[in-house]
Amino acid sequence: MSAVFRPRRETTADRGAGDRQRHREKVRSSILDNIADIIAEESIIGRSGDDIIKVPIRGVKEFKFSYGDNTAGVGEGAGEDVKKGDVVGQQSPQRGKGNAGEAGNEAGSDYYETDVTLSDLIDMMFEDLDLPDLERKEMRTIESLRQSKRHGYRKVGIRVRLDKKRTILAKMRRQRGASAAARTGAMPAAAAAPTPGRAARHSDGGARIPFSQRDLRYKHRTLEVHEESNAVVICIMDTSGSMDTVKKYLARSFFFLLYQFVLRRYESVEVVFVAHDIDAHEVDEDRFFHKGEAGGTFVSSGYRKALEIIADRYHPQLWNIYAFHCSDGDNFGSDTPAALKAARELCEASNLFGYGEIKPRGAGFYGSSLLDSFKQINEENFQTVLIERKEDIWPSFKTFLNRETTDN
């Protein structure tokens, strides 16, 4: 008895679609779980959104009891010259499987990597924050574009917008109506021309009916206003001698997140960098992160400068202002009252104002900490965070944003 052959079953069903979907969800949530680690990775900061980054994934692995590293294996195809002690392959802890052609030992930790673009990653991160719908929040908007557009026709208007063609059409329509009415004998008042003689002449061909006020048609225009939501991120950083590279790096990560966050909520976003020691200057990005200053710290100077810039270019009625200040908390004691006052003013002007104190562990303890002083500020849109290591960045960023997302 020979076999049964069946032709291919034509099916439109996409096999395993549900399982693949679920697997992808798991990959995604695994990325989310590791996001704090990924953020803490030095390499993603300062990249452009299209860059592809490799994300290590844990958690979608399936686990079973299995043998570990001390397990011997057997391979084939060794030539005559293979001796004891020859190296036949590399264990690759980062990959799940041995490379093809090498010892196919499947043991080893099954980290595997997936590629995502930076902007996808950031989208996922902010999704993870469960931000409320943007529409629910009132955002300050400005008119970015004001233009008049045609919007139909009207019977009143100014002379320059007279639409001659439509006016003539209207007149002809009336004329026809009038002559038809004359023939049937129903002579409406409207058709009764100012001088009956003229009308008579027209009906037997070519009598002129003058324009009436009612024939006139004007183009109508309306004003259209485009509203845009604009935001400015004001990065204020202490660049005094005590801010070393590590601290600056931590600050930078935080500013990066803040900028990305704001960028996703507003149509146009500007960034302002204010560096301060005793004095404050507006600087460019490169200088902000890389040029060290020396000397002491007057925090108030930075705030004053920020306020100055706001007053100058970013009127709070038109701009959504996000200000954040990073410092190591080392301020001259005498400056603190002034700093508090300026901070209160900044709170008033901005949507969100935050202070991040960066104290890497083991960096030594400085007597003064602005965190304590800032406890006196009770404004709802003010938030302080403490950053001790890079793993803190994401959690503290979340805390910071809570101020924004809880209705204030």
Partner: protein
Amino acid sequence: MGDRIEDLRDWDARIYERVQEYGLDCFPQEFELCDHNDMIGYMAYSGMPSHYPHWSYGKGFERTKTMYDHGVSGLPYEMVINSNPALAYLMADNSFCLKILTIAHVYGHNDFFKNNFTFGETSPEYTISRFKTHADRVRDYVEDPSIGAAKVEYVLDAAHALAFQCRRNLSVRKIPRDEMVGRKFEESLPRRDPHGSIHKKPEHTPPDLHRVPLEPEEDILLFIRDTNPYLEDWARDLMTIVHEATQYFIPQIETKIMNEGWASYWHYNIMSNLDTPEDMRIEFIVHHNQVLRPHPGGLNPYHIGFRIWKSIYESIEGDEPPDHRRKTAGRDALYATREIDRDSSFIRRFLTKDLARELGLFEFKARRGEYVVSEVADEEGWEAIRSTLIRSVGTGSIPVIRVSDADHEGDRSLLLEHEFDGRELSLEQAEKALMYCHRLWGRRVVLGTVLAGKSTELAYGEDGFTTKRQS
């Protein structure tokens, strides 16, 4: 040559003639044509037309598809499932010759499924319907509003982690508890003593019949299912489903080398004795060598199996290939072996020193991040290599772990014992597997094993994972 089903039928009839002449004994065979997308789907769901859903199959699907799309690896030419009638898939995109080769190969598997003892308990007539009812049941639980997808996945994840911790030899009867009680009691009785009248009466200690399990139990999943009273019925059923699905694979894992070697051996003989046109013959040889090429550094079960089968025959009949017109002692030896062996015994009995050398077998161990050759197939080394191979083929790659006490330390902790044979467990894997075990057992789970040469207790409880090393 046309690519119509009629042509396939013609060739199948010719192949089947040879199959019968060679004395292969097959289930009725069914072939279904499919395209490469279908094949990827079948691969993800172990060939089953219907299979219960779980994300891990989605993962397999994506992996196969990615590898295929990027040309990293091709798809198997054939896929055949152990069912009665045997169901095999043929990729329509393959060349005609490849399809013919596949048909011949499939008959080899079919014969093996029907006759090898490890498949004896698989009830192949119900394979497809069993997987189908599994799928229906799991989908019912997913759709049940009081259960839902999340809970089902929660249990399936855990059950999958333990599924292969089961009995390996399905031909050995599982002794029911009642019978075990009787045996235990008998064992505890003093040996009959012909001089009992003059000896002091030995003391009789009755066996501890309260101990659960009475004897260490290898079916961890089933043990938990039957012993944890807090499990809900649907969760128990999911565990049954996972267990039954796994049982399907155990014989296949146990006979991978034999089975692939057997199918390759017969497709080779059948194709060589088929009147094929010259171009087809050359294409066949190309494909055959492709499938049977050694994987340097790895192990190609097709190659190893084929060579061992060939050497069994040749050790009796010499270099002459099997003659389809004549029953010979060599052929009988082949058939006997395919019935009573599994990979481990097959290699123990038939992997000779010469063959090990010809195959260039070697043993490797991991040392400081590198794989280093530890034995080569010479006079001293080949037996060590054979032992290592025996231990790592089939279910030998799965650690033996048994439930030895369900009331460990009197607080209903579950005590598992790893039968240590020199190979240590992967700690990372063990931690997660214990976590899943704890999820199903609901109480602390303790695993006794050996790590870094010292006996160690790994435990997973409310407070997470702990290790306790004995000094």
